[in-house]
């Protein structure tokens, strides 16, 4: 295989000119333009994702507690649901679901069979109210659920609710259930809210508990554990040593896999598996199990190469080892001895499979239900892996030639797309994205390896951004060498960690993260550590636009009066 490196930036520039493409690598890494700084971002509130909610409930109570219900769909902003979470609200219908889930969870926790398992104390008889026990329960669970110190006002409020519930229900367990239901349906649980303290100079700083929540949802994708909350209460997260100790403890834990899986699910848009459909007549081996296993496969693959082997991030493009189940074995056409569970397979060096692009989480996810798609795959590489933007297709495009895979004149995707590009309206964009996607044409619509289409040998050679390659291995080596590949990961990781689009104040931080990522041989754990220990990760400032202090009741009254 030949990979010829030319001037990447020159190649990019050529590709971008006249293509109607918004291309931004380098904008944030300080390669050009003056250094820009600005105030840190304001405090945030991020709606918990479904996985964060489920993980939190499992860790606060137990994995045995069933979470049944429909969640508000994630909103993807700037390519990440984590960023969308900062802009997401909860609809009326959505809140009904969260409320119902809270009730079902509380019911399980305070049930007679579970009470002793989850509760630190009990009352001699259900009709007895024990204020000390109620306080103990509220303090313990309140801190975990709200991710904040329950002392002072908050504890008193929830104790009052507990007493009122006891008054109405006459049963301590039921009253405690109502309190937990209230906590779990509270915005303070459903949104990860930054709580801040104000310094004498007016500057804002995250509380220890808010820092704990940021670290925990970033590294483990779940609520802070007891040790992290203890450190937060003790003020240890405000010291360099204390913070390092906690971050290192968490990075050395198996839970970091959960956190990394959540990032890569977001990064690679794996939520699309939930709606992935393939034509059963064309791809009879593709079924629900393949889809579920395909999602897990790529996460196992990433875990293995980036965490277990602690390899460089770019190894995922050139790797030859991955994992299969029997349903996946039918797609990859490899033997799988284990009837259930996973088996590791290693493809030979001359086999086009093994790297990220050969996984069905890429090849099948970015394809049509009944055929492959060089265009969708090309866009996916540009947008997901290189953080480049591709303009949407213009209106009224004629896709007839591209869609007709049985046309004897255009047997391969390359022939069809070449014909399609004769339309000037299509040419510029397709020249930008198709060479990448055409290199993946050895994988059909579900990711099965093929060398021919309609009897014609598939040409998978091409070039992009100044690189030339012979096949998908060459493309993946190109991606491994491409500077935008690592800068994209760093940028996405930074956005994922902070839950917001990069701001002017982030530019130097991202620049530093990229340099350190490079110096650490592009290994993922050092990157996580660098972000989690960065001052910028916790930095907040007062909103630049003043927020009026509105009395909600008065405002509601005024609105009603106006309407009347």
């Amino acid at each position: 295989m030949s990979v010829i490196r030319n001037s990447i930036l020159a190649g990019v520039a050529v590709a971008a000119i006249g293509a109607g493409i918004y291309f931004v690598p380098g904008l944030l890494n300080g390669q050009s333009g003056p250094k820009v700084t600005g105030p840190p971002p304001p405090p945030q509130m991020r709606r918990m994702t479904e996985s964060q909610y489920r993980n939190s409930v499992a860790d606060i109570f137990s994995p045995e507690i069933k979470v049944v219900g429909r969640f508000e769909p994630d909103i993807r902003v700037d390519g990440l649901a984590a960023v969308g979470a900062s802009e997401a609200s909860i609809s009326g219908n959505g809140y009904e679901q969260y409320y119902a889930m809270a009730g079902r969870i509380a019911e399980q926790v305070v049930s007679d069979e579970n009470w002793a398992k989850y509760m630190p104390c009990d009352v001699p008889a259900p009709a007895t109210y024990d204020a000390a026990c109620a306080e103990q329960i509220i303090s313990e669970y309140g801190e975990k659920i709200f991710r904040r110190d329950m002392k002072d006002v908050t504890l008193a409020e929830w104790l009052q609710i507990s007493e009122l519930a006891m008054e109405k229900l006459g049963n301590f367990h039921a009253a405690t259930g109502l309190v937990l239901e209230g906590m779990l349906s509270s915005p303070e649980f459903l949104f990860i809210m930054d709580t801040v303290t104000e310094g004498e100079d007016g500057s804002l700083e995250l509380t220890g508990h808010a820092k704990a929540a940021r670290i925990s949802y970033f590294l483990w994708n779940t609520a802070p554990d007891e040790e992290l909350l203890r450190a937060a209460s003790a003020g240890e997260l405000d010291t360099k040593d204390g913070l390092e100790a906690q971050v290192d403890r968490m990075l050395n834990s198996e839970h970091v896999r959960t956190g990394m899986n959540a990032f890569f699910e977001d990064f690679l848009h794996l939520d699309a598996f939930a709606t992935l459909e393939k034509d059963k007549l064309i791809y009879p081996a593709f079924n629900q199990r393949v889809s579920e296993d395909g999602r897990e496969q790529v996460l196992r693959f990433l875990d293995y190469h980036l965490l277990d082997k602690a390899g460089p991030y770019t190894d995922i493009f050139t790797a030859k080892e991955t994992f299969v189940t029997r349903p996946l074995g039918m797609i990859y056409e490899v033997p799988v001895r284990a009837v259930e569970g996973w088996e590791k397979v290693e493809f030979t060096e001359d086999d086009p499979r093994g790297g990220l692009l050969s996984h069905i989480a890429f090849s099948a996810l970015h394809a049509h239900p009944g055929r492959s798609s060089a265009t969708l795959r090309g866009i996916a590489v540009r947008e997901l892996l290189l953080c480049q933007s591709v303009a949407p297709a213009p209106a009224a495009v004629n896709f007839t030639v591209v869609q007709d895979t049985s046309n004897p004149e255009f047997k391969t995707a390359r022939a069809r797309l070449t014909q399609h590009r004769t339309d000037d309206a299509c040419a510029s964009c397709h020249e930008f994205i198709d060479p990448i996607g055409l290199a993946m044409e050895n994988f059909d619509g579900v990711g099965r390896l093929r060398y021919e289409e309609n009897g014609a040998v598939i040409d998978v050679s091409g070039a992009f951004d100044g690189y030339e390659f012979d096949n998908v291995d060459g493309l993946e080596e190109t991606l491994a060498d491409h500077p935008a590949t690592t800068s994209c990961l760093v940028e996405k990781m930074q956005k994922y960690a902070t839950g917001r689009k990069p701001q002017a104040s982030d530019i130097q931080w991202i620049n530093r993260l990229e340099k350190k990522f490079s110096r650490s041989d592009e290994k993922i754990i050092p990157l996580l550590r660098e972000i989690a220990l960065s001052d910028e990760f916790f930095a907040v400032s007062a909103p630049q636009v003043p927020v009026p202090d509105v009395n909600q009741q008065e405002a509601a009254t005024q609105t009603r009066e106006k309407k009347s």
């Binding site: 007549l281 039918m330 088996e343 590791k344």
Partner: protein
């Protein structure tokens, strides 16, 4: 330990350089969701030495239906015997479509009566108990199949036990397929019959599609898949279902594990000529069970001819001499009497016909043939044949004494333990109740 496993995808076949987990050569697989087994090296590149794996996706008698097969009409079922004594007008009346439920009910009544007369015992277990009219059999001389004994017999030689060979549609003479002569006028064994046409094929092939039965094949030591003068061949049962698509076509490249019962492991050798595998004769024993029957294929002098297509699929035929008892148990035994009503035969008539047309393996003492020639058609899709670890292998025979009403010597196999049939391949629940005639009688009362 890293195993070398090489796969050819260029042909689309499921091919391994060594066996895919051969019990003789590989470590046992201990996979779990959290701890995957060590990496298996795979490749898309053609290698010199390969093993071709296949899963049967269609396996059924190679019956040739012509208009001349049954000049007297199709064979009698119990429903026919039930109305035979009635006036002709009454028979015509019952055979009209709107009256057929009565016609069938009369058959079921006769079936019940026969079982009551023998304390609930299946009549198929005592086929000599009734002297039914002889089975109507195929009268034409055309049939699919192969010449198993190298002779074009007219039925007058000792070895053929009086059965005259067929001629193939392509003109080949000496075709040994007497089982077709027996089953060829039974309506459920034909596709063109009015009443139960296609039923038996659907039952049998359906058993493959439903995962009740899986048959695997492995062709090892293949140096050249077009021409190779020596290959090793294994044919195995599996308890894991072959995947099928929504159009009832087998889906290729599944990994399927061979049964741990070595009784259903069959080994032979063969050669490949112009892309066609031809095996040396071997005795084939495979698990078979449809709707829970503990049936088996037991075909002696089996030969397989298989056209190995470039896309990894294969099609061909399997011929040999079906052991007479197993042919009867496998294809006709009807524990509760329903098949004899609805599917065009009676056990006494079939039993007699099988013995009449048996044409192989003459008993040295009696001279009577103990096996009947047969021909089956098979389709296969590429599959990865996974062998269980050697230490898990066992040898057992299903204890079907009660089910078939036979003695131990009828089913015993040297070195094989007896096991109660259960689960897939086990007998229907009624078999248990029949073990105690008193229970059956009390139910009847």
């Amino acid at each position: 330990m890293r195993k070398s496993l090489l796969i050819t995808v260029a042909f689309g076949a499921a091919v391994c350089a060594t066996a895919c987990g051969n019990s003789e050569t590989s470590e046992p697989v201990k996979a779990s969701a959290s701890e995957p087994v060590e990496a298996t090296l795979v490749s898309s590149v053609n290698q010199d030495s390969k093993t071709i794996g296949l899963a049967f996706s269609y396996f059924w008698y190679d019956n040739l239906e012509t208009p001349d097969d049954c000049p007297e009409g199709y064979a009698y079922a119990l429903r026919d015997l039930a109305i035979l004594g009635l006036p002709e007008e009454k028979q015509k009346y019952l055979l009209q479509p709107e009256n057929r439920s009565t016609y069938y009910k009369m058959g079921y009544a006769l079936s019940g009566k026969r079982m009551r007369e023998h304390n609930g015992t299946s009549i198929c277990n005592i086929p000599d108990a009734y002297d039914d009219p002889p089975l109507r059999t195929v009268q034409s001389n055309l049939a699919n199949g192969r010449d198993l004994d190298g002779k074009a017999s007219s039925g007058d030689d000792v070895g053929s036990c009086g059965a005259a060979d067929f001629t193939a549609p392509d003109g080949r003479s000496g075709i040994d397929n007497q089982l077709y002569r027996v089953m060829g006028c039974i309506d459920s064994y034909r596709r063109d019959a009015e009443f139960a046409g296609g039923a038996m094929e659907d039952y049998h092939v359906g058993a493959y599609r439903d995962g009740e039965i899986t048959t695997l094949m492995e062709i090892r030591d293949v140096d050249n898949r077009m021409n190779d003068d020596y290959v090793e061949v294994g044919v195995y049962s599996s308890h894991e279902p072959t995947p099928y698509d929504s159009e009832k076509k087998g889906i290729g490249h599944a990994s399927l594990t061979v049964t741990d019962n070595t009784l259903w492991h069959n080994e032979t050798t063969g050669r490949i000529e112009n892309g066609v595998l031809i095996t040396e004769p071997f005795d084939l024993r495979l698990k078979f069970g449809w709707t829970g029957r503990p049936a088996e294929y037991y075909v002696k002098d089996t030969q397989i001819h298989l056209n190995l297509a470039e896309d990894g699929t294969a099609e061909g035929d399997l011929v040999g001499y079906f052991d007479l008892q197993y042919a009867y148990w496998h294809s006709f035994h009807d524990e509760q009497g329903a098949l004899q009503v609805a599917n065009g035969y009676t056990c006494p008539a079939v039993w007699d016909a099988l013995h009449k047309y048996a044409d192989g393996y003459p008993d040295p003492e009696t001279g009577k043939c103990t096996a009947i020639s047969t021909a089956m058609k098979l389709d296969a899709v590429p599959a990865f044949v996974i062998h269980p670890p050697k230490e898990e292998l066992v040898k057992y025979v299903l204890d079907t004494r009660d089910y078939y009403g036979v003695e131990l010597e009828d089913i015993a196999v040297e070195g094989a333990e007896l096991r109660e049939p259960k689960g897939a391949g086990g007998p229907p629940a009624a078999a248990k109740s029949r073990k105690n005639p008193e229970t059956s009688e009390s139910k009847e009362e």
